[in-house]
Amino acid sequence: MRQQYHQSERFTPDKEMQACGLFGVMDTTGKRFGGDMAIKAIKNMKVRGNGLGGGFGVYGIYPDYQEYYAFHVMYQDRNQAAKRMVEEYLKQNFYVIYDEEIPTDPGVNVFQPPLVWRYFVSPPPRKKGAEEHLTDDEYVVNKVMFVNINIEDAYVFSSGKNVGVFKGVGFPEEVAAYFMLDKLYQGYLWTVHSRFPTNTPGWWGGAHPFGILDWTVVHNGEISSYGTNRRFLAMHDYYCTLYTDTEVVAYAVDLLMRKQGLPIEVLSKIFAPPLWDAIKLMSAKEQKLYTTLRMVYAPLMLNGPFTIIVAHHNEMIGLTDRIRLRPITAGAKGDLVFLSSEEGAIRAVCPDLDMVWTPPGGEPVIVRLNSKDHLLSTNKSI
Amino acid sequence: MFTGQWSPPGVCCDTYMSSGLCFFIRLNTHERMGTMGKVVVKPEVCIGCHLCEVWCAVAHSKSKNIIKAFLYEDTKPLPRITVEENLPLTFAWQCRHCQEPNCVTACISGALTKNPVSGHVEHDSLKCVGCYSCVLICPYGCILIDEQKREIIKCDLCAGLETKYCVSHCPNEALIYVEN
């Protein structure tokens, strides 16, 4: 039996509601570049945030440690007890190759900064028993979940290989400045998020991107189906603790793509499935596909307004809900592909675009390394 | 909308139900030859409440007000429709507005006529002398007697009224006005 982290679901934390700005940029040749574009673009969409959260996901950030899982662990209120417990736990369950405090700029004034530490770890060979047959990834996910659920004031907000998530309370450019992203890091794929929570002061753990392993999600919207999604994921051992509906997207991506091996195109049709009326008009083969998906994965449909940018190594997907209640725009210039809440933000960092298009609701823009797959969505654009 | 069978075979009143249905179909085809419309009954849903009689009487009262008609008008309101009753079977029954009405042939005063336009069998109470020949000859027993006035009364399909009272007041929609 799956353990419940609370005696009653009544006590599950509330997610908060928010409006947001998102931006993602990827070099499809895999060339690494700095954070300037991402920072500038998100700054351009300042009205989409309110200074209560900002964050970045950067791929290709730790080439020197690319064999190791890079954990970014946040200790709220700089809680040393929590840090000791986490480190004890990591020591018991991993080989910790290297760890350090993530460098920050003390000159940047941010709200109640936690202590953020990074650990490069590698899972040990499994002992006989329950975990014997787990893959490394699953093993890591389990341990991350354990920390997030059980250790007060400690949150693992980045856990992939060669990936880093940086986030906090403040405008994204303040967070970037605090972590010195423009100076210290380079990556071939950057996603950015600017947050506008409406009902909580915002906390560091609640900022986007949200990540598990190398999956990161930035999200704009309010997922009305959150409760259904959350409870379905709980059945698959994903427990939401971070007070944000983006979390369910991240877990769902992990479940569907990593664990169940579904292609990204299918994933987008689970999140934003076609209407039954549309399915009725499809070919028999498509009908079977979409009917099966809707039947089986009904609890993972993301209902309500959302735009998400999901990224993992080599891939970045932009998707908006099936009735397109939130915006998304895509643009391309040479090898660079952009996804953004607003076209203006893309043009701000790249004025002479080759092309710019608006994908319809439920239709994913898939940006892949060394491919032109993102162009597939252009012919359906609105 | 509803295409099911009205009654299960073997239920004690099924024979009249099924044959009743076909009866009305027959009447319909027949009607296309002459009459424009009539009220037909579905005996399988006639609940024997006699409300058609009540409202028919109201329709033919002076005031058209049910309470006034029954409690305060001088002449007792009389229905032109009869509910035949032999429980559990009941069905309301009124002038069939025959294509070649026997009552018209039997009428000695010319009070009963078949309206060639509407197809209705009409009764002119000013001409009626109350000889009751029509009562004797109507094979359906649909011509009723007003003992007080000593003349006959029959269904006039609520001529001059907005609705056919028996139809519009049947609580179970057992009465239906069919037109060709």
Partner: protein, 504 residues
């Protein structure tokens, strides 16, 4: 024996309105009214009145008023009127007090203590009149995952899915057997289900031969402890096969259709001789354990070529969650939970009012338990027993149900006034009777329309409420307890329901 019971109802007749049309007399199967030609007056025998209100509704001058009699015993919080009346009745008869319909005692109705959410500002509410609003629901077992492979022209689905039944709205008519209800009522349910594209449940009385082809596509056929009317053709002319273990109104006991109601067609449908009592034993005598249930489930699957989902219906009792879990593991594709406010044609009053637990708590517990065990997707949950309105239905879905069974509400739509005299066989509304005079009071054409209207109205309301929550497909509300809040509930109740208190 002279009865010391207080008459239940009083009847007032407005003398200045009564036109002596005698409609009341003809419409009353309980001989309350009689006409005296000599005096031109109606007489009333109030003792016989069951308060079904048929006469009140049919009276063309609205001259009648039937209401509970005001004369009462000295108020006594312990010895209430109900209790005293029952005592006197039993003293006079020496028997079990029978009753019909569902529990009428003031037990907490949790639906009324749950409120729904709506979108404001941060996400838009959706207008179902202008935008799609999907209520389509699949009932049946779902696989844990779907394996999909890329192929030249798209994707291939490799996972074999389990049989599922699609219904356009999550509302399904409850089990009401032919025999317990009249053919007209039964037919109306079937015809309404057919028109709506949803399902009706045959109950344990079988499905008449001549209805099988036409209505089998909308039937949930029940296989209950009496095994009435069960044969291969019956099982195969259906969408879902349901094993009835228990009924919310009378958990732990069986049923009894008196011989007088077993007329020719009922006898044929139930496959028992005319005039014999149809006795449904309390347990199914081939199911004394969960393994036995599993055997029956697979026997039925075998009989239907594994083409139909098999449902198991249980009454909501104390350890319902564990039982439901066992049922799913035994192979059931659907678990139907019947709460203790569910209706019945006949049940001992003591059982009806005192056995079982409310549907809301049972449903919440079952849903939670199945999720904890990771098997919630292996079955659909049907919630039954006291769903009174669309809001109850949508709250049930938010608590975790896939669909709801609508029983008493459908009867009320047909005309039922909950006089609770179903067991007498003299239903003045033509529903729970086989009297050939009384059954005609249901015109299947009209009744079907009433049922269709009701379901459409509810579906529209569900759509409205879903839209208000910013959800455009019912599956996104299923088990979405975040959209529920409790009001006026104790801590433990909120815990069981798994919902926060309002404002939390």
């Amino acid at each position: 024996m002279y009865s010391f019971q207080l008459p239940e109802f009083m009847i007032e007749r407005a003398a200045d309105r009564c036109i002596r049309c005698r409609v009341c007399e003809r419409q009353c199967a309980n001989q309350v009214y009689s006409y005296d030609a000599e005096l031109d007056r109606m007489f009333i025998e109030e003792k016989n009145c069951v308060g079904c209100q048929r006469c009140v509704v049919l009276c063309p001058t609205l001259a009648l008023n039937v209401r509970p009699r005001t004369s009462d015993y000295r108020p006594n919080a312990s010895w209430t009127r109900d209790k005293m009346q029952n005592l006197k009745k039993q003293a006079e008869t020496g028997g079990v007090i029978l009753t019909g319909s569902g529990n009428d005692k003031p037990c907490r109705i949790y639906w009324d203590h749950l409120v729904l959410n709506a979108s404001q500002v941060t996400n838009p509410s959706i207008d179902p009149l202008r935008e799609p609003m999907e209520l389509k629901t699949y009932l049946g077992r779902k696989p844990d995952a779907v394996k999909i492979t890329r192929c030249a022209d798209g994707f291939d689905v490799e996972t074999e899915s389990f049989p599922n039944v699609a219904i356009p709205t999550p509302l399904v008519f409850s089990a009401m057997s032919y025999g317990a209800i009249s053919y007209q009522a039964y037919l109306s349910l079937a015809a309404a289900a057919k028109e709506l594209g949803t399902l009706f449940n045959t109950g344990e009385g079988g499905l008449p031969e001549h209805m099988r082809r036409e209505f089998g596509g909308n039937a949930i056929v029940q296989c209950a402890s009496g095994r009435f009317g069960v044969d291969a053709d019956y099982l195969n002319n259906s969408q879902i096969v349901e094993i009835k273990i228990g009924q919310g109104a009378k958990p732990g006991i069986g049923g009894h259709l008196p011989g007088e109601k077993v007329l020719a067609n009922i006898s044929e449908t139930r496959m028992i001789p005319i005039g014999t009592d149809a006795l449904s034993p309390a347990p199914q005598h081939d199911i004394y354990s969960i393994e036995d249930l599993s055997m029956l489930i697979y026997a039925l699957k075998e009989a239907t070529n594994y083409a139909k989902p098999v449902s198991v219906k249980i009454a909501a009792v104390h350890n319902v969650a564990a039982i439901a879990s066992g049922i799913v593991r035994a192979g059931a594709d659907i678990v139907a939970i019947d709460g203790f406010r569910g209706g019945t044609g006949a049940a001992p009053q003591a059982t009806r009012d005192n056995v079982g637990i409310p549907l809301e708590l049972a449903l919440a517990a079952v849903d939670k338990r199945l999720r904890e065990e990771g098997i919630r997707n292996k079955c659909s949950i049907m919630a039954a027993g006291g769903i009174r309105c669309s809001a109850d239905a949508i709250k049930a879905i938010a608590l975790g149900a896939d669909g709801v069974y609508v029983g008493t509400a459908a009867l009320i739509a047909m005309g039922c006034t909950l006089c609770q005299k179903c067991y007498t066989g003299k239903c003045n509304w033509g529903i729970t009777t086989q009297d050939p005079f009384l059954i005609k009071r249901l015109n299947p054409e009209l009744t079907t329309q009433r049922l269709v209207n009701l379901m459409r109205a509810w579906s529209h309301e569900i759509q409205e409420m879903l839209g208000g929550m910013g959800i455009n497909a019912i599956e996104s509300l299923r088990g979405n307890r975040d959209h529920l809040r409790g009001i006026g509930l104790e801590d433990w109740e909120l815990n069981v329901l798994g919902v926060k208190g309002a404002g939390e």
